[in-house]
């Protein structure tokens, strides 16, 4: 009987998702004291009286952390608050040395703004739709320590405690697990490119919670939200959200109602379970921290930070399309990696914009393949942008063939030598002497009457059977483009 999706079908529901993302800022010292930040150090070595909240200690703000969050806000088009104000969030938990966290409550340092994302395309080599996810706020706070639970007792490591932590909250404007995935990918790309954070989720440098609700398509009112925690990789964020949307739809279709609760997602098993319900919500008793003076953020400060801002990745992608005429498949490799795209631009400048596509191909395909096989980072590559530019110049100038270039590339990768000496030593320079070429071509025509006849009968491809013997006669040094020209000329004449 049904013709359009109705409330008894899962397609009659849409998801509304908001993300809360915590990101550790990459600063030398902690948020409110001079102790170094770090990961993997022996327990409780990155501490001092302030981190441990010994009686009488006081916080002093790390300006580098404030700089970095303001940069983030400027990159994402946020309004920057004129004053950085600190509040205390009071709650008892053993990983929190003071039993309050210094945070920002009613005046976050960054308001609104947005993150441009790219949704998956119809195929890997097709660019997907771009859209902007609006942000509610970004604020700065301090991270807590880490509990290690044993059988009988729990141990606390305060190394992480006091690490500068940024909390970003999106509007409830994300519509699918894929959008959430794309959001985190794009956000991470921006932060890494700007040197704000390394965003290594395995090290806990980026952590994500998702607020998820569903509603009948077309409804304005938001449904009851469920908070999903412990999403500790970007893929788990996608899978966890997808799972939660399906779970909620199943509950509703089964005649049930969604309970406001916090659920814990287990990425290994792909299941979630309830952690706590809304009734256990905290009263954090926020109030302004009397130990910290508000810090004025004036126009000069913002202007100075704005000068050091990198280009946003998707802006760079658009520029690479426009200026270098790169295809999507290449930009999608280069753009997410700031070092790689800088490397490309340096090589493209040296080679000339007209040869940028070839440069891009060599970097995105050959260089990355060789680096991957050798297990090396770009910084360790012996091939520098000048090598790529020189190699491309040799190819485009007809000095070497593409297939020889591959061999030259491998040798450059090993030795770091520039391409010209390799080409000369190995005698790879192509022959561009048409006199010699004509002789080889005439020999090939004379020796292959069948191919000649087919070509003359209209089979264009038959010419290829003539090229092989020519190349063989030239021991690979014949310029294939010239061979093609000369053959055609001779065949037309004969």
């Amino acid at each position: 009987m049904t013709s359009v999706p109705n409330s008894s079908s899962s397609s009659a529901y849409e998801a509304v998702i908001g993300l809360e993302v915590h990101v550790q800022l990459k600063t030398r010292s902690k948020m409110f004291t001079r102790v170094a930040t770090g990961f993997g150090e022996p327990p409780n070595t990155l501490t001092d009286p302030v981190v441990l909240a010994l009686p009488g200690t006081l916080p002093v703000m790390n300006k580098e952390a404030l700089d970095k969050i303001i940069k983030t806000g400027l990159l994402l088009g946020c309004e920057i608050a004129p004053v950085c104000k600190w509040d205390r969030k009071n709650y008892f938990y053993p990983d929190s040395p003071k039993n309050y966290q210094i945070s920002q409550y009613d005046q976050p340092i960054c308001l609104r703004g947005g993150v441009e994302i790219e949704l998956p395309g119809s195929a890997r080599n097709v660019m997907g739709e771009h859209k902007t996810i609006p942000l509610t706020r970004i604020h700065l706070e301090e991270d807590v320590g880490k509990l290690n639970h044993g059988a009988v007792e729990s141990l606390i490591d305060y190394n992480r405690a006091g690490t500068p932590l940024m909390e970003l909250v999106t509007d409830p404007a994300i519509k699918s697990a894929d959008e959430a995935f794309a959001f985190l990918t794009a956000f991470r790309m921006i932060l890494v490119a700007a040197g704000i954070s390394d965003c290594d989720m395995e090290k806990g440098q980026m952590r994500c919670d998702a607020n998820i609700s569903i509603r009948p398509v077309g409804d304005e009112k938001l449904g009851t939200k469920v908070e999903l925690k412990n999403l500790n990789s970007i893929s788990f964020v996608r899978d966890g959200i997808a799972h939660e949307i399906q779970r909620q739809i199943a509950v509703v279709l089964g005649g049930g109602t969604i309970r406001q609760e916090t659920r814990d997602y287990d990425g290994q098993t792909g299941t979630s379970q309830s952690l706590r319900s809304k009734e256990m919500a905290h009263d954090y008793r926020y109030f302004p921290d009397p130990d910290l003076m508000p810090v004025k953020v004036d126009e000069a400060w913002k202007a100075q930070l704005r000068e050091g801002l990198p280009e946003l990745p998707f802006d760079k992608q658009r520029r690479f399309f426009d200026v270098y005429k790169l295809p999507y498949t290449i930009t999608s490799v280069l753009v997410p990696d700031r070092a790689l795209s800088d490397y490309f631009e340096e090589a493209a400048q040296l080679a000339g914009t007209a040869k940028a596509q070839a440069v891009g191909n060599w970097i995105a395909n050959d260089l990355l393949r060789e680096l991957g096989a050798a297990g090396l980072e770009l910084a360790a590559s012996k091939i520098r942008p000048a090598h790529i530019a020189a190699l491309v110049a040799l190819i485009e100038g007809g000095a070497i063939s593409s297939s020889s270039a591959k061999d030259v590339f491998v040798e450059m990768f090993q030795s770091g030598e520039m391409p010209e000496p390799i080409v000369d030593r190995r005698g790879l320079r192509q022959s561009n002497d048409t006199g010699e070429l004509e002789k080889w071509c005439q020999e090939a025509i004379a020796a292959n009457p069948k191919a000649v006849a087919e070509y003359k009968a209209g089979n264009e491809k038959a010419i290829n059977s003539l090229k092989g013997p020519v190349m063989k006669a030239g021991k690979g040094k014949a310029n294939p483009k010239l061979v093609d020209e000369v053959l055609r000329k001779l065949l037309a004449a004969g």
């Binding site: 441990l52 009686p55 009488g56 200690t57 039993n99 008793r285 009397p290």
Partner: protein, 488 residues
């Protein structure tokens, strides 16, 4: 202390050390002897590290012998309220909670004293976490007023005041959140200064109410207080609320600034509840200033009546958060009854905190609760702004204000412990200064018929301690109240 040294001022002792009439070790031993002779009755000290004191004194003597004395205070003993951190010394804050805690670091003020060569002399009793006006809230002992050992010395810095008044140390440091330096100074017949908020670093001062707390010195004379202030004042990068300001030579300023001053008398401070003998002494002091050519003006601080209420909202709110770190998890008392983390919190805090601290934590937790914030904390902050504005308005007309420090002389032990509200009114004349962040000094200005000291409070402009102390010094020089000492 041999009678020759007992009750001598830090300035006098400093001169004798400089003239090599005695050594720092001799002075330290004299102080230790006075403690032994009197502290059984006074109970000013919570702990005393004799070996450490003598070692410091020997170092001072060695510096002096090498011609490298660091300051006039080099070799002079200074007692510290047990709320100011000193490396490798206990830091109990008068609480069971921190009974076993030994500080691994120095407060900036303690470091200032060390850098001046002073001998850090013992840990002085106090109301638990500086909450109280009689030192009866200490978890360890009740300090007696040296003038009458059946009476309290005031609080919360009662140990610091009593130790100076009993001649055990020439000077000491206390902390003042609502009157905790000035009120005990008044009740013990000595000088006590609460500096402007931000003049002295709070780093290493265990927080009671962060926006109100301030360290300050006690001494027999204004000059001693000035000398001590000199060693601890100034900006500290470890305290964001410490102020960048030029630090003058406070001692030199005493003689340089001679008035006459325009002095205000706030009418709200002379109303009901003021004991007649206190009123009489303070009015005589005012009359003296007038006789010296000072212009005396009545001024009004119209929001005074709201000060105590605003104070008990702001101070307890901050305290409820500041004291959360004492949770039984690490360095604090942990209840033997505990099993899990929540249990550790409940039992350890129940056992570790005394009743007044619990009362203030509960009050502070309540006023910050969701739904009550605006009605209590938010409004109290507005009142605070109005109170500060009252003072700033008055200071457009006058250079300083004269008021009583305490509404009464020292009361009997146990007299007010059953009624917290009555105890809170002991600070009625001192609390507003903390809310306004202003400096205030209490100087002796008389005795009651039963021989108990009375204090005059002088209130100064922000960061004008040099002027404030000069006004106090002028009065002190013309009177002999500070030369009288209790018979012990």
């Amino acid at each position: 202390m041999s009678s020759a040294l007992a009750f001598q001022t830090a300035a006098q002792l400093s001169d004798q050390l400089a003239a090599r009439q005695m050594s720092a070790v001799e002075l330290a031993q004299a102080c230790l002897a006075q403690v032994r002779a009197t502290d059984g009755r006074i109970n000013a000290f919570l702990s005393l590290d004799e070996a450490d004191i003598l070692a410091q004194a020997r170092e001072s003597d060695a510096r002096r012998a090498a011609g490298q004395a660091r300051s006039p205070l080099d070799g002079v003993p200074v007692g510290l309220k047990d709320v100011i951190a000193v490396r490798n010394q206990p830091l109990t804050c008068g609480s069971r909670m921190l009974e076993k805690f030994v500080s691994p670091y120095d407060a900036t003020a303690a470091l200032g004293l060390k850098n001046a060569g002073a001998v850090l002399f013992g840990r002085l009793n106090m109301d638990e976490f500086a909450m109280g006006s009689s030192t009866e809230n200490s978890a360890y002992k009740t300090t007696a007023n040296p003038w009458d050992t059946s009476r309290i010395p005031g609080g919360s810095s009662g140990g610091s005041a009593a130790a100076v008044a009993a001649g055990q140390v020439p000077v000491s440091l206390g902390s003042d959140t609502g009157g905790s330096i000035r009120q005990p100074a008044s009740l013990c017949g000595i000088v006590g200064l609460k500096p402007t908020y931000g003049l002295i670093s709070r780093y290493g001062l265990v927080a009671y109410a962060s926006s109100l707390d301030q360290i300050g010195p006690f001494g027999h004379t204004v000059e001693d207080v000035a000398m001590t202030l000199q060693t601890i004042a100034g900006h500290d990068e470890k305290d964001s609320t410490s102020f960048r300001t030029e630090i003058p030579d406070y001692r030199a300023a005493l003689a340089q600034r001679r008035g006459p001053w325009k002095l205000g008398v706030p009418k709200e401070y002379f109303g009901e509840g003021l004991a007649p003998e206190v009123r009489a002494s303070v009015e005589q002091a005012i009359a003296w200033y007038r006789a010296q050519g000072c212009e005396i003006r009545e001024v009004s601080l119209p929001h005074t009546e709201y000060a105590v209420s605003a104070y008990y909202i702001i101070a307890t709110a901050e305290a409820s958060s500041n004291l959360a770190r004492y949770d039984g998890i690490r360095y604090t008392h942990r209840s033997a009854k505990s099993t899990d983390a929540i249990d550790i919190y409940h039992h350890s805090r129940a056992e570790g905190f005394g009743p007044e601290v619990k009362r203030r934590i509960i009050l502070g937790t309540y006023v910050l609760s969701s739904g009550y914030y605006d009605a209590y904390y938010g409004r109290a902050q507005k009142v605070r702004t109005l109170i500060r504005q009252d003072f700033l308005d008055a200071f457009r007309e006058v250079d300083a204000l004269l008021t009583p420090t305490s509404p009464t002389v020292a009361f009997k032990k146990g007299e007010k412990t059953a009624n917290p509200l009555e105890m809170y009114l002991a600070d009625i004349f001192t609390i507003s200064l903390n809310l306004a962040g202003l400096p205030g000094v209490s100087v002796p200005c008389g005795f009651s018929p039963e021989g108990l000291p009375i204090g005059l409070q002088i209130v100064g402009r922000p960061f004008q301690e040099a002027e404030l102390l000069a006004i106090a010094h002028a009065y002190e020089r013309a009177h002999d109240f500070n030369t009288k000492h209790p018979a012990l």
